[in-house]
Subunit: 115 residues, 2 copies
Amino acid sequence: MTSIVHRSVQHNQTLDRTFFALSDPTRRSILERLAAGPATIGELAEPFGLTLNGVRKHVGILERVDLVITAKVGRARECRLGPAQLENTTAWIESYRRAWERRLDRFGAYVEERR
Amino acid sequence: MTSIVHRSVQHNQTLDRTFFALSDPTRRSILERLAAGPATIGELAEPFGLTLNGVRKHVGILERVDLVITAKVGRARECRLGPAQLENTTAWIESYRRAWERRLDRFGAYVEERR
C-alpha cells in the first residue's frame, strides 16, 4: 500500500479525472456505444436524448482522460474509444481489495486467539 | 459488452456512486489510511488538515457505497474499511479494455488486408 500512498500524495489527477469520468451513467453508455464502433456527436445525441452540446460536454470529459478520441470528419466530429491507461485505476481498486482482505484475516486471527 | 449495456440501462447507481467516491484524492487517502487500521473521525481530520465536518462529509460518501463502515465507540466515531463489492467496478473497466483491444485488432486486420 505504501507505493500507492506515495503516488496519491503527489495527487494523481488522472486517477481523479478517470474515476470522475466513469461516475456518470451517460458517459459509461457513450463508451459502451463506442465499443461497437465510431460515432459522430450527432449519432451519440439521438439515442441518449441529449443535445449536441450535452454530448460535447460528456465527450470532452472522456477525451480529457483519453477514454475517447475525436477527429473532424467532413463537417462532423467522429468519436472512438481512446487509448486510456486504466492500469492505475484497476491497480488502485485491487490494492483496496487486498487491504480489506488483510484486515479480515487479522480479525480472523484475533478471534482465533481469543478462543 | 451486451450484458454491460443492459446493466447500465437499468442505471447502476452503485457504480455511479463508487466511481464518484473514488474520484476524490482525499477520499482515496482516507481509504489508504484505513487500510493500516481503524481511525476515528478526529484522527482522520488532523493529517489531512480537514475539519471534523469535512471528514464526516467524505466518510459519508464512502459509507454510502460500503467502502467504509463506522461505529460509535464511546464519544468518538470509529471508521474502518467496509465490505464494498468492487467486482462490478473492475468488471466495467475490464470490459472497456477488452473492447479497446478488439477495436485495435480489427484496425490491424484492416491494415493487413489493404497491403
